[in-house]
Structures are given as structure tokens and as C-alpha cells.
């Protein structure tokens, strides 16, 4: 048997190795996509329509479609999510009700995204008759990220020290004034970070849009919210697995993956930057 100090050394070295191999995995994935993708990326790739059965041209409509979906889902999920979080953490006095909502929110968060796709298809596409459309897709994605928005907002609100609320109330401010003037502004950077992270989530989700909005190929940009749209993740999926000529469209797939990864990277950097910026503004 080794002495306890040598045991410790061995164990710690293994853990260190594991941890750095995580970095390795990340570098591998990113490196692979960036290395291959950067060779494809140019102005035309970003601004042109696909050509020749997706083996040439660009991914412009997919980018636009993803932007529409992000905006649409955020317009739906952000106000609702923030308001529910405010209710849960600031107003709700009935603990049972809060508990119920929290369980529901947690469960909603754990539901697989494909189930949201099914649900969106049944409710928005068929029952509401929106058809495969940006509206149906945005609503589905919106529902998907509501739990995320609620949770991050709630955590941000919870991180605001109780003493601020007391301080404000003691000065004769009403509950809403306290939330509006003190609690929300303090929590805002964290809420913002949460929202940005959910933008990342929305722009990468494929399963929920498979049957609610995504189109394989559209010759023109969507004209209204009732039109179908192309979307980046779906585009990557189809050209990687079921394009007309998978080998020929591989560069397009690399390029699309590169754009997707860039969105994720930018969003992570942005979120980190916002966090740090506001931390510097308000030390402590």
C-alpha cells in the first residue's frame, strides 16, 4: 500500500489530467470546426443563397431564419419569464403556490427538446393552424427557454440582498417601486446574462424546429411570420446527413457549423463581458 501522501499525489494527478483533457476535448471540437470552417467562410458564403442543390453558394436564408426565430422566441419568452420570476421571488407569499410553480418550471426544463417539437407541432401548427411557420417555431422555442429565463432571473433576484428591499421599503417605497428602482436594476446584469445565454440556446436548437418551422430549402426569404424559414442548425443537420450530395456539400456543412460555433462563442464572451463589466461598476 502506498503512503497516504503518495495516494494523494496520484489521485490529484489523475484529476488534473482529467480536467485538462476537458480543455483538450473543447480545443479538439472547436479546432476541427474552426480549422475547416474558416476555409469556407467568406462574404459570399454569408450573404448568398444556396446553389446547386446546396453544394455551393451560401447560407444567407438560414442565418436570417435563425435571427427571426431568436427575436420571435425572445419576444415571447423574455417578458413572460421575467414577470413570472418576479412574481415567484418577490410577490408570492403562498408557499404552496410557489412550490407548485417551481416544480412545474423544473419539469418543463427537464423535458427533452424533441417533446417540445411534438407539442409545438400539435398545438401551434395544427390546432392553432399556424402551419409550419416562424410564429409556430418561435412560440415553441419560446416555451423551451422560459424555464431558463425564469431560473436565471429568479437567481439574479435572489442574489439581491434583502437589506436593499428593507431599506427601500423603510423609505416609504411601494413594493413595485422597490422592484423597479432597486431590485431589478441590481439584478439586471445577471438577468441580461441569462437572456444572452438563452439566445445561444435558441440559436442552436434543432429538434423543436424540425416540425414547426424549418424548411430544407427556400428560394426566397420569409415574408411574414406565417412563412416557413430555414435555420442554421437544421441546415447543418440536413446537409450533413441527407443532402443531395453529402460529400460535395461538406464544405458548406463546415461553414455552417463554424457560424453556429461563432454565435456560441460570441454569446459566451458577451455574457462574461457583461458580468464583468457590471461587477466592475458595482464592486462588492
Amino acid at each position: 500500500m502506498f503512503s497516504k501522501n503518495i495516494q494523494q499525489k496520484i489521485a490529484f494527478h489523475i484529476f488534473r489530467l482529467l480536467s485538462f483533457s476537458i480543455l483538450g476535448v473543447l480545443v479538439w471540437i472547436l479546432g476541427f470546426i474552426i480549422y475547416n470552417g474558416i476555409q469556407v467562410i467568406n462574404w459570399e458564403f454569408i450573404t448568398a443563397f444556396p446553389k446547386e442543390g446546396m453544394t455551393e453558394g451560401g447560407i444567407f436564408p438560414a442565418i436570417i431564419g435563425t435571427i427571426y426565430l431568436v427575436i420571435g422566441s425572445m419576444m415571447f419568452a423574455v417578458p413572460l419569464g421575467i414577470m413570472s420570476a418576479i412574481y415567484i421571488s418577490e410577490y408570492a407569499s403562498n408557499q404552496k403556490w410557489v412550490k407548485f410553480i417551481r416544480i412545474m418550471t423544473n419539469n418543463l426544463a427537464s423535458i427533452p427538446s424533441i417533446v417540445f417539437g411534438l407539442f409545438g407541432m400539435a398545438l401551434f401548427v395544427h390546432t392553432f393552424g399556424f402551419g409550419d411557420s416562424i410564429l409556430a417555431g418561435s412560440l415553441t422555442l419560446g416555451i423551451l427557454i422560459i424555464p431558463l429565463v425564469i431560473r436565471t432571473t429568479e437567481e439574479a433576484l435572489k442574489a439581491v440582498p434583502e437589506s436593499y428591499r428593507l431599506g427601500s421599503i423603510a423609505l416609504g417605497a411601494t413594493k413595485f417601486q422597490t422592484i423597479k428602482n432597486v431590485v431589478f436594476p441590481i439584478a439586471f446584469p445577471n438577468i441580461m446574462t441569462g437572456i444572452i445565454l438563452s439566445v445561444g440556446r435558441v440559436s442552436g436548437e434543432t429538434a423543436p424546429i424540425l416540425f414547426t418551422v424549418a424548411a430544407y430549402f427556400l428560394p426566397k426569404l420569409p415574408q411574414s411570420i406565417f412563412d416557413q424559414a430555414m435555420a442554421l442548425p437544421y441546415h447543418l443537420y440536413v446537409i450533413a446527413t441527407s443532402g443531395t450530395d453529402i460529400e460535395a456539400s461538406k464544405p458548406i456543412a463546415y461553414g455552417t457549423a463554424f457560424v453556429l460555433i461563432s454565435i456560441v462563442l460570441i454569446i459566451n464572451l458577451l455574457a462574461g463581458w457583461i458580468r464583468r463589466y457590471f461587477e466592475k461598476q458595482n464592486p462588492k
Binding site: 494523494q8 490529484f12 476535448v25 471540437i29 427537464s110 436548437e205 457549423a257 453556429l260 460555433i261
Partner: protein, 398 residues
Amino acid sequence: MKILERLLEGMFKMSSAITSIVILLIIIFLFKEGFGLFRSPVVEKGYGLYINSKNPVTDLNPTQIKQIFDGEIENWNEIGGKDESIYLLRFDEIFSIYSDEELGENYQFLPQKLNNIISENSNIIAFFPKKFMPEISSPTKEIANKNIGIPDFIYGKEWLPTTTPSPLFGIIPLVLGTLLVSFLAILIALPFGLGVAIYLSEIANNKVRGMIRPAIELLAGIPSVVYGFFGLVIIVPIVQKMGNISAGETAFTGSLILAIMALPTIISISEDALRNTPLALRESSYALGATQWQTIYKVVIPFASSGISAAIILGIGRAIGETMAVLMVTGNGAVIPHSIFESVRTIPATIAAELGEAPMGGTHYQALFLLGCVLFLFTLVLSIISEIISNKQTSKSA
């Protein structure tokens, strides 16, 4: 002023109810569509299976029908009939027996010709649209077209949603595929994730932590379709070469990708749990002469065990529900897997792959919704379990 406050509070309350309403709606829609399956007949709507009335067989279950039409069952005695070989008559074969003139311009003679065939062949089984069988007369007998039963779904060993005359919706291969891929993924991810969590929470200095944490966040942020793409282009060929198999799209490949995807969840939740171990506990262990490592595995890990279990369960939940990456790298063979180097198909991948082709409202469509229900229940149970476990953890720390 007062009224405004009330109004706002009401608004907030309303929106907080939204999530609950959504869950309710999800349940309603999934189950409504899904359970429609059990109200659908085994044989496709509008079609019927017909046999000679002298044949003692009265009903067949979906598997038997499928086996008959696949030629796996060739004699009636295998399914409780007389010792006669089975004569299969599909709808299109009638046109090779009779010429178009014989059948009439609008196929008005078709029902009669069918009657003739069935009465002439006592060993026949015919699959025809009901409209050509206007009356069930003496020589012809329709096999009772029961609704698809719950056991057919739960115990069915085959998933063949598009075969005629009766598709098979057995979820066992899908469930096994899902569980195999998920558990294998967790098996790979767990030692890895736990090690990293321990390193981050107990050993690493702030600089290293500041490097690895963002990496993990980034890993969590990469869209699953990108993982799928990466798996397809990189991991699949590697597995193919290593395993020396014809196709690299296997359960193992899927597990590898899922393991990477589940890592961030496992790491961050178990790290939180480890970190929550009170300083006093650690210090008292140090004070007794334990090394840091002894303290970690004798004090910190046991204390954080329920948090770590919650992490594992959430990781499984994530893996079970993951769609795109799995869809792209597991090969999607809907058969009961016998080894990890075989192609498998998971529940979410099945939904994603097939829903596009399933006609709305049909049995296939309903079956896919039912799969959605199963998935929903799986994750619901897992999330409730992890909730219970993590509640235990918080009450311990309090």
C-alpha cells in the same frame, strides 16, 4: 397607485402560471394524440384482411400478421389453423390474375372476383381495401380488426411503423436503445466528470479554475447538432477503424458524444455539491491528521453524495432526451441491440427521423406522439427523483 400595484401583481401572477399551463397543455396534447393509437385498428383504416370462412382462425395479432406477410409463417397450423400452407393475396396481385376487362371499367366486378378467389382457396389470406368488399358473404370472413393494444406497444419487440398491412409499434428496441446509449454515456462521463468536479472544487487554484470553468460553459453552449456533426465526421470513422466494423454509427459512438454533452451538467452540479460541504467538516478532518485526499473521499464526497447522485440523474435525463446528436451518429437501426458496436435507435431520434414522413392523424403519427409521452414520463420521473435527492442535500446543509 394602489390599483396599479394590484394590476401589476396580477399580471406577474398570470405569467407565473404560464409554465404550469404549458405543462398541462403538453400533457393534454401529447397524451391525446398518443393514446389515439390505442383507438386505431391493427390493420390500416379502410383495409381489411379476409380469409375463407372455413378457416378456423378468427383473429391474428399484429406480429402474426407481419410474419405472415413477410413469409415467416407459411402454414396455417403455426397460428392455430389447419395444416395448409398460407396463400397470400395482396391487393396489387389481383391485377396479375385478372385482366382489366374482367374487372370492369370501374373495377365494378372486383368484389365478385375476390369472392370467387377466396371461396376457391381455403388457405387464402387477402389484404384489400374495404370498399371492394362490400358484403361479407358466406365464403368470405374478415379477420376481426381489433384496436392496437397497450401490450402490443409496451411488449412489442419490433418497431416497423410503415409495414403493411399492419405496422408494428413495439417500443422495446427503442427503449433499450435509449437506455443503452444513455447509461453507457453516463458510465463514461461519470468518472471523468466527478474527477473534474473534485479537481475544480478542491484542488485547482483560481487561475486554473478560471480557465477550465469557461471551457465547460462553452462545452455546454455548443449546439447538439454541431456535436452530431463532429461525431459524424470525426468519431464515427475512428470507431469504425478501432472496432473494425463495417459502419461506425453505433451505440458506442452515440454514448461518446452524449458523454461529452452530459459532462458540463455533471461537473457543474457535483462541483456545487462538493463546494457546499461546510468548512468546519473539512477542518475537523484535517485536524485529525487526514490528508486533503483522505478528507475529500472520506468526508467531502460522502457529504456531497446526494448532490452527486442528482447530477448523475440529471445527466441521464439529458442523455435520454438528446435528439440531434444521437440521431446523427447512432445509425438508427430499430432493432434490439446485442452489443455496443451495433447500430441503435433511441426514442427521440425515432421521433425526429419519422415524424416528418408520418401522415398527420395516422397510426404512425399517433405512435410517435406516444413515444413523446414515454419520453416525457421518463424525464418527469428522473427530474422528480433528482428533486427529491437534492432536497435531501439542502436539508443536510441547513
